[in-house]
């Protein structure tokens, strides 16, 4: 394998990707393509190729979701010999697990029907609104001969107004749909869709339909709503929860939003979901405190208590162990001799050792901050996404005006901006990833990849900020750099995904692995 073309074309089929094979995608290959990601192959990036960090997925619109549902209802309805309405209730009752429903229905038909609130067959007594002599509604306490009333098979009869209001409360306020129960006390009968048709009108009906569709997607393991605001699409992806240790299933919704199918968070390639969760929690808990500790405190050279110097002289006495030391050089105070209150002993041995110990004890904190600061930096840039995008558009217009280039010709700015944003998003998560990574050869390769991408991004970013009059001359170079960035990103993600999939990464903490299993399984 000596060119990038080979690398790109050696994509794997889905099955292979899901499995745990293919461990010969090894380090040897890595070094081959590492030093030569040539410019000559940039056009290959534009072609949609499937990389090992990408997963199969499909986006569905609401109509398609509805028709899926209808199809399944129809299918199961013919197998069970039940009305579609009843079948729909049964399916929802068993959370759209077709096989389980059929199995259970064949074995214990009556029980299943009872559990789903269908008791006896629906078609012998179609639901209808009646006036019953001598009736008084238990909910509103109204009575009267001409009062319209309704009851399902369970004979919990209430006046139609109360019934309607009850359904409205359930649907509108509580967002229930598939499992609304009879308003009667301790009655488990589910309000079936025929009864709902009768009682629910107008807007509420639409809302009800919407909620039903929503429970369908919620119940299906391989379907997930796009989390973008106001997005109506759902995404289907075959990645199971238990695979999330090894795969980061980023999907791309029709609406343009990239998100993780495993946890619905924004795209967090290459870090696995559990790591992301852990990192976010750590940052929430630690980062500010850690920053403050790092900036304002030192540890006692003897007992390592954290000490804040909030005033006074450099002669410190540790509250805890009574150790006396100099705040400046961290050396033992008694060795300061006559030069008290004027520390000039910086190179002395005891001070040096104390500082060394201090440095070690602080290493873990520094290590965390190292990764956190870089993570936060890229996150900050990601937050400016919108700004950058708007700025790009303005720049593109200016460029057209000043240089006479056409709109098509200035598109390179847009692709550069997009590449920058995407790469920064990836870089951000590489730092969280690296924080938890145990050190070995793989880590070094990972960090090299990270460094290359980071440098490529910074180069492009710098160029991107150049004044308009220089941009025209930089066009070719910028296109090269854009392609290079994209390429570096792909390499980093592919390499990481391959290693992750074959379980070759080791994490810093054993509990980390344990944790991942706990949260995922």
């Amino acid at each position: 394998m000596d060119s990038d073309d080979d690398f790109n074309s050696s994509q794997m089929s889905d099955e292979e990707f899901m499995g745990d094979q293919d461990s010969d995608m090894s380090l040897g290959d890595d070094s081959d393509y590492q030093d030569d990601v040539g410019f000559e192959t940039q056009d290959k990036d534009i072609k949609p190729t499937k990389h090992s960090y990408e997963v199969e997925f499909k986006v569905f619109n609401p109509a398609e979701i509805q028709s899926h549902q209808d199809k399944q209802v129809e299918e199961v309805s013919s197998i069970l010999g039940q009305e579609p309405e009843a079948t729909a209730i049964l399916l929802r009752h068993l959370r759209w697990n077709k096989e389980r429903l059929i199995d259970r229905y064949m074995e214990q038909q009556n029980e299943v029907l009872e559990d789903a609130g269908l008791g006896e067959t629906l078609h012998t007594h179609p639901p209808r609104i009646e006036q019953v002599p001598g009736f008084a509604c238990d909910i509103c306490c109204e009575d009267g001969e001409d009062l319209d009333t309704f009851a399902m098979k369970c004979e919990h009869r209430f006046c139609v107004d109360c019934y309607k209001q009850y359904l409205q409360t359930k649907i509108k306020d509580e967002g229930e749909a598939a499992r609304i129960r009879c308003p009667g006390d301790a009655c488990n009968r589910i309000v079936d869709s025929k009864s709902l048709q009768l009682l629910v009108t107008g807007d509420l009906k639409n809302r009800y339909q919407e909620l039903l569709t929503r429970t369908y997607v919620d119940d299906k393991e391989n379907l997930r709503w796009c989390p973008a605001p106001n997005c109506v699409y759902a995404v289907q992806c075959p990645v199971k929860d238990r695979d999330l240790k090894k795969i980061v299933p980023t999907v791309h919704c029709e609406c343009g939003h990239f998100f993780c199918f495993g946890c619905s968070q924004n795209d967090h390639q290459p870090a696995p979901c559990a790591l992301v969760k852990k990192w976010m929690k750590k940052c929430e808990d630690d980062s500010e405190t850690a920053n403050w500790i790092s900036a304002n405190t030192k540890e006692c050279p003897k007992c390592a208590s954290t000490i804040e110097k909030n005033g006074g002289c450099n002669h410190m006495t540790c509250r805890k162990c009574r150790n006396e030391f100099c705040w400046m050089c961290m050396g033992v105070w008694s060795e300061h001799g006559t030069s008290w209150y004027n520390c000039n002993r910086f190179e002395e041995k005891s001070g040096f050792e104390a500082r060394d110990a201090q440095a070690k004890s602080r290493q873990s904190l520094e290590r965390y901050l190292h990764y956190y600061n870089r993570y936060a930096n890229h996150e900050q840039s990601a937050k400016l996404d919108k700004d950058i995008y708007l700025k790009t558009e303005k720049k593109m217009t200016q460029l057209q005006n000043t240089t006479g280039m056409s709109w098509i010709e200035v598109q390179f700015m847009d692709s550069a901006s997009q590449a920058l944003q995407q790469c920064r998003q990836t870089l951000k998560w590489t730092y969280a990833f690296a924080y938890y990574l145990a050190r070995n050869n793989l880590t070094e390769i990972f960090e090299d990849n990270q460094k290359d991408l980071e440098m490529a991004v910074e180069n492009l970013s710098e160029m991107f900020e150049k004044p308009i009059d220089q941009l025209k001359g930089l066009k070719v170079e910028m296109m090269d750099k854009t392609a290079y960035c994209n390429k570096r990103r792909i390499i980093l993600l592919e390499d990481t995904a391959d290693n992750l999939k074959s379980g070759r990464f080791f994490w810093c903490f054993q509990f980390m692995l344990l944790d991942m299993m706990l949260t995922i399984d």
């Binding site: 909910i139 509103c140 306490c141 009850y166 409360t169 006390d185 301790a186």
Partner: protein
């Protein structure tokens, strides 16, 4: 908001046909707000105590359940320090066909049958599970201390 026929009827019934051991009296200036007392059920550590509570009927009552809170301190795994009650019929199992009196009866029954497996006051539930006799003794002492008229 005007008072519904339902609330008027319920209030009347509560006054005319009172349940033994339970009272609920609406405030003069707010007929949706009730002062409630519940007698501790016999054969329970709360026996002999009279527990005060407040009850409020929200605007959409009876579609949504009444809000109830104990005012008297009580040592019980399903009732926390603020007097909030963990009871299914006050939440997910509420039915508009239930009434103030039925809810108060459920609460009285809860006093007679604490459920430490579904706790609201974790520390109490823990104590209840570890040493039921001791917990019952504590509940009795609290009843003596806080709930005697």
């Amino acid at each position: 908001m005007s008072l519904s026929k339902r609330i008027i009827k319920e209030t009347q019934r509560l006054a005319e046909d009172a349940v033994p051991g339970i009272s609920a009296v609406p405030h003069d200036d707010n007929l949706r707000y009730f002062d409630v007392t519940i007698d501790g059920p016999s054969q329970s550590p709360y026996e002999g105590g009279v527990f005060k509570a407040e009850l409020f009927l929200p605007d959409d009552y009876p579609m949504t359940p009444p809000k109830i809170r104990f005012l008297t301190r009580i040592y019980h795994p399903n009732i926390d320090r603020l007097g909030r009650i963990c009871l299914d019929v006050l939440k997910s199992n509420w039915s508009p066909a239930l009434q103030i009196r039925t809810i108060l009866l459920s609460i009285q029954a809860l006093l007679g049958a604490p459920n430490p497996d579904d706790p609201l006051a974790n520390d109490v539930a823990q104590a209840w599970k570890q040493d039921e006799q001791a917990a019952i003794q504590t509940a009795r002492e609290w009843t003596e201390k806080h709930a005697k008229p």
